[in-house]
């Protein structure tokens, strides 16, 4: 009897149960965020925290909407994206090829590694004054400091990816008569892609971080400037609007990279 019960397949799906499961998954993923938002709103409206410092979320939303509708914040977003984007693209264009090369030439990698480690450990922010001295307080030094900070995660991740490639796969390809170029294109490059993406995602986060810092010094446009400026003028809702905008930009950049990685690495995506 017991066996029969176990063997009976559940033919009818239980909608109530599916709903409960779905709700559970949703809550476990977003519950804390929702709780945080609600707490903020309640605490601010009821005056548990000073509404001057933590304005209610609806006022922040209004400030955000006004900024976007008037086009003022859009300009800031555009200039910020341009700065971070230029620097990021430059870091990708230089970092990935250089990393692919260095990963395959142990002699060069050994020679350059101490220097790389030193640069990596030196905070790009500490070097910002140096870049300003060299390049002036304009766009160039801003883009350069972001570029500098984003280059190293990409470069080091790419080198690491290439060095980690399974030697046995390379040998396999070679035993079928693959040329050096074919080994690179068909083995080393695809094998390094997941590691490169780890570097790209780290770099994207770093780019936004450095963007804000760079825009807080000697800028008169940009989302980072808006955060400082709004605080200075005591437009606290606008300040939070700019902060949320930055967080959103970071999330969006990460989502784009994750989607791209999914596309390029379908072979490694776990079935979920």
């Amino acid at each position: 009897m017991a066996i029969q019960t176990l063997d009976t397949p559940r033919t009818r799906p239980d909608p109530a149960r599916a709903l409960r499961d779905g709700a559970g998954r949703f809550l476990s993923r977003w519950g804390l965020v929702i709780g945080f938002v609600v707490l903020w709103q309640v605490a601010s409206t009821l005056g548990w925290v000073s509404p001057a410092v933590f304005p209610p979320l609806d006022r922040i939303a209004v400030a955000l909407w006004d900024g976007i509708a008037s086009g003022a914040l859009l300009d800031d977003i555009a200039i910020s994206l341009q700065r971070a984007g230029t620097a990021f693209v430059a870091a990708v264009v230089l970092g990935i090829p250089l990393g692919l090369l260095m990963g395959q030439l142990p002699a060069i990698e050994r020679a350059l590694d101490p220097l790389l480690q030193l640069f990596r450990q030196t905070s790009a922010l500490a070097l910002y004054p140096v870049f300003i001295l060299l390049l002036g307080l304009g766009e160039t030094s801003k883009v350069f400091v972001i570029f500098w900070a984003t280059l190293f995660p990409i470069l080091l991740a790419t080198i690491g990816g290439v060095k980690e490639v399974d030697r046995k796969l390379i040998e396999m390809a070679r035993s079928y008569g693959a040329t050096h170029l074919q080994v690179f294109r068909r083995v080393i490059l695809p094998a390094s892609v997941p590691a490169i993406f780890v570097g790209l995602r780290l770099s994207a986060t770093t780019a936004l971080l450095l963007l804000i810092a760079a825009e807080m010094i000697g800028a008169n446009k940009g989302v980072g400037f808006q955060v400082m400026n709004a605080q200075y003028n005591f437009q606290i809702p606008l300040m939070f609007a700019a902060i949320f905008l930055l967080a959103f930009l970071g999330l969006a950049a990460n989502a784009v990279l994750v989607a791209l990685q999914r596309r390029l690495c379908r072979w490694s995506v776990t079935d979920r």
């Binding site: 390809a173 079928y176 068909r186 072979w267």
Partner: protein, 254 residues
């Protein structure tokens, strides 16, 4: 086998190989000479570390001998060559290629047009019984299936000589027996010279025309044992059991 001169003839002439391990010379092969007929099936057995893989890698052209020569169809081996294909203990599939792409890989790097390469690959995928998995990624295969993909990849380049380094070592007992029968059938159908390193004496007797027994001491002359039994062989037959006893005795086992 036909009487016409088969290609895939291998000759080892006074092969020596010494590695350096922690600054000490480690002789592995010493003055080894052997002729392997085209289309022959030779098994290589011996204790762990005696140089079986090293010998196979020399044949594959992945390693160079310190002394002596390897001749294939009379020509000295310079490096890897298109008339040889290696099947390793692990499948060594490229995770970013589907089964079909993996099997076609060998031909594609040799410049065979893609559609032609894939047509030929399909034929060998069918031969190893994986037609339903052409579009699968390697991570979706079981160990035995992955190994069969590796075998299909080697067969697709239609080598004269198939070099196998414990190809079934990682498989479970049941799959192993099935795969041994497949290898035997493939060997017969493809007229290929098969050089098979194995730890499994029954596998050697089941598949080989001759068994080369290496010993750990490279100074000892390797022994060559003829397996003169009709095919396909029956593991429970008296001759088979006797052969097994004989080989075990080579290792001082009973």
């Amino acid at each position: 086998m036909t009487a016409t001169a088969l290609r895939g003839e291998v000759a080892l002439r006074h092969i020596s190989k010494t590695f350096t391990l922690n600054g000490q010379p480690l002789p592995v092969l010493r003055n080894l000479s052997l002729d392997i007929r085209g289309g022959e099936s030779l098994a290589i057995v011996g204790p762990s570390g005696c140089g079986k893989t090293t010998l196979l890698r020399l044949l594959a052209g992945l390693e160079r001998a310190d002394g002596g020569q390897v001749l294939i169809d009379g020509r000295p081996v310079q490096g890897v060559g298109t008339e040889r294909a290696v099947i390793y203990q692990e499948p060594r599939l490229l995770p970013w290629l589907t089964v079909l792409e993996n099997v076609a890989f060998g031909l594609e790097v040799r410049g065979v047009p893609r559609s032609l390469a894939r047509d030929r690959a399909r034929r060998y995928i069918r031969l190893v019984g994986l037609s339903d998995f052409e579009g699968a990624w390697p991570r979706q295969l079981s160990g035995g299936m992955a190994q069969r993909v590796g075998i299909a990849r080697a067969l697709t380049v239609q080598p004269e000589i198939l070099l196998l380094d414990e190809p079934l070592g990682a498989l479970d007992a049941m799959t192993k027996l099935t795969m041994q029968e497949e290898l035997e059938r493939i060997w017969r159908e493809e007229n290929v010279t098969m050089i098979l390193v194995t730890h499994d004496l029954e596998e050697a007797i089941f598949l080989a025309d001759r068994v080369l027994v290496l010993s750990r001491d490279p100074g000892t002359v390797p022994r060559l044992i003829e397996v003169d039994m009709p095919r396909p062989r029956d593991r429970s037959e008296a001759g088979f059991v006797e052969m097994r006893r004989l080989l075990m005795a080579e290792f001082g086992l009973h």
